[in-house]
């Protein structure tokens, strides 16, 4: 009996808290019909926002995957002074409010910031430009690959890598042929989490972007803009699209499990 109560309660909670919001977003988006909803996406500013979000995500995910792997590898396989500290620092973006991290970039690279005048002289724009958005996104999404890959690398141990080194493999060969294949599941998971986070980042990006429609507005920023301008169908359509993208990234995470189970059933 208790089991069913708990079971029902958890389902109810999940339905209300997690399933209802996206469902409501979708109904709001389709309020005037599918045609009207899709029409809002043909707006040049909307398309620019979608493209910008995709570009920023691709760059942020690529960089954070590459450096995340190296960081995890160094943190797991080597013991050096300051390692503990570094481990804590890596998690900083998880605990700091994204707005605060955005402000830091403003402080560093803004017109009144430390490096502002210098960058101005060389005609490099970071704040209120795409590069600032990428920086902010990088900061916010940094921990995911590192944190998902590290525990698996820990379990993996060093033996296989040492065997590879003794067989004559170089650094990159060891990483590519031995270390990474061993952690591919976790890595995949980390990359998709990073993607989902990069797509949806609002706070940090909002501070550094300057909200220039068609130029520095990502999807989340554009949604806010539309909503504040009472264009609710357009806002919710964009929101539904964003939610769909992020959710498919998260759903993809469990794909390897399904595939494995499918193969087991066949075998």
């Amino acid at each position: 009996m208790t089991r069913y109560v708990v079971w029902a309660a958890s389902w109810l909670f999940i339905l209300v808290m997690l399933v209802t919001p996206p469902a409501l977003v979708l109904t709001e988006a389709l309020k005037d019909g599918v045609g009207a909803s899709l029409l809002t996406l043909s707006d040049p500013d909307a398309q620019a926002a979608i493209w910008l979000t995709l570009r920023v995500s691709v760059v942020a995910v690529t960089l954070n995957t590459f450096f995340g792997i190296l960081a995890a590898w160094v943190l797991v396989k080597f013991r050096f002074p300051g390692r503990q500290f570094l481990q804590i620092v890596v998690e900083l973006p998880l605990s700091i409010s994204p707005v605060v991290s955005g402000l830091v970039w403003l402080l560093l690279f803004g017109a009144q910031g430390w490096f502002g005048p210098l960058l101005e002289r060389w005609n490099i724009h970071i704040v209120f430009a795409v590069s600032g958005i990428i920086l902010a996104t990088l900061f916010v999404t940094l921990p995911y690959v590192v944190r998902t890959v590290m525990p698996v690398m820990e379990v993996q141990g060093r033996d296989a890598e040492e065997a590879a080194v003794l067989a004559g493999a170089g650094f990159w060969q060891v990483l590519w042929h031995v270390t990474l294949p061993g952690v591919r599941g976790a890595l995949f998971s980390g990359v998709l989490l990073t993607t989902a986070r990069a797509l949806g980042e609002f706070g940090a990006v909002s501070v550094v972007s300057g909200h220039i429609p068609g130029e520095t507005e990502t999807m989340p920023l554009h949604i806010e803009n539309l909503y504040n301008g009472y264009q609710s169908v357009a806002a919710f359509t964009m929101a539904a699209l964003l939610a769909l993208m992020a959710m498919s990234a998260v759903l993809l995470r469990s794909a390897p499990d399904w595939l494995a189970r499918l193969q087991e059933k066949k075998a």
Partner: protein, 354 residues
């Protein structure tokens, strides 16, 4: 390929006792050397140092008189087999074996067909025909061990380093793979260093045994010398069951403190003073009573047979000691008046007396 280790020192961070304490070792070409010792003696540390896996604080390792400074120097010339095999789980057996060849720079790498032929050759040598397509997870412990060996041998190294390679195998497989390994060593003309904590295994396969204790080499000798002339009490105990009798040498005779043990004549050169006599259970003998009045103060309790020896236990005052006699000995004397320990080795302050 000969290996020479010169004055290796490796300090443990934060500990006073060094992991390797000025270790020197010469292994001639073609030798099969076993490194034995209790856990924490530094056997694996020494092996890893020879392979270049860990950096040492001082000392050097020479391969055919050429100093090896990094792992790169050794790559492909030394095969290393890890205790837990360390196979690459995502690769097939064939890919595992071919790894050392696959990672060679393009200019030196053999053609794909040549690599495939080499893998086939090794699979056959390891008695693993037809297993090339399997993944390591599908193999038994003994098979995995042989794959690890094949991988270590793929690049044709002249030196084979084995870190407790049989540790995880069951006793029967262990025994068969042991003799097989010795044959492999002989046919391929390798120079092999084997780390093991099992002294029996070491005695069986190696031509030379290096006993280590707390980061030092205590003795480096042939199995026979090691048995006849163990350098220290520790070596004597480590190589097999031993019973010790403290006592004193007076006028060329050893008088054991234990009254049930008979005094015996010591070899020339042993000076007077306190000593410890140590003897193997199968080297002791029970003295038969000479006359009717003799009190039978010794009685051996049978405990079963093993390896052709009948095992007994003897009550000697407070302690119980093991005592073995060959099973086929016609007259097994199990009662007597005293214990003959004249085949003991004598130790003074832990070291063997000449």
């Amino acid at each position: 390929m000969s290996i020479e280790v010169c004055n290796l020192v490796r300090l443990a961070p934060g500990a006073r006792q060094p992991l390797l304490d000025n270790v020197s070792l010469k292994v001639p070409d073609g030798a099969f050397v076993a490194l034995v010792g209790p856990s924490g003696a530094g056997k694996t540390t020494l092996l890893r140092a020879i392979a270049g896996l860990d950096n040492c604080d001082s000392g050097s390792v020479l391969l055919d008189d050429r100093p090896m400074t990094s792992v790169k120097d050794r790559a492909g010339r030394m095969g290393f087999v890890f205790q837990n095999y360390a196979l690459f789980p995502h690769m097939t057996v064939a890919r595992n074996i071919a790894f050392g060849l696959d990672v060679q720079p393009r200019a030196e790498r053999p053609a794909r067909s040549q690599i495939a032929r080499r893998v086939e050759e090794l699979l056959e040598l390891m008695q693993l025909q037809g297993m090339g397509g399997k993944h390591p997870a599908k193999l038994s412990g003994g098979q995995r061990q042989r794959v690890a060996l094949a991988r270590a041998l793929a690049t044709g190294p002249r030196v084979l380093l084995l870190d407790e390679p049989f540790g995880a195998l069951d006793p029967i497989v262990r025994r068969s793979i042991r003799t097989w390994l010795r044959e492999l060593h002989d046919t391929l003309g390798l120079t092999t260093i084997l780390v093991t904590h099992d002294q029996e295994e070491a005695l069986e396969v190696a031509d030379r045994i290096v006993v280590m204790q707390s980061g030092r080499i205590v003795q480096d000798a042939s199995p026979m010398d090691l048995d006849e002339q163990p350098a220290t009490e520790f070596v004597m105990e480590f190589l097999g069951e031993a019973v010790s009798f403290p006592g004193e040498v007076r006028h060329g005779r050893m008088i054991p403190d234990d009254e049930l043990a008979q005094p015996f004549v010591v070899p020339e050169g042993v000076t007077d003073g306190p000593v410890v006599a140590m003897i193997r259970p199968y080297e002791m003998r029970i003295q038969k009573p000479v006359s009717e009045q003799d009190i039978l103060s010794l009685y051996a309790v049978p405990r079963g047979t093993r390896n052709g020896y009948r095992h007994y236990t003897l009550q000697l005052g407070e302690r119980v000691v093991p005592f073995y006699r060959p099973v086929n000995e016609a007259d097994v004397q199990v009662q007597g008046i005293a214990l003959d320990i004249s085949r003991s080795r004598l130790f003074r302050q832990g070291l063997l007396c000449v």
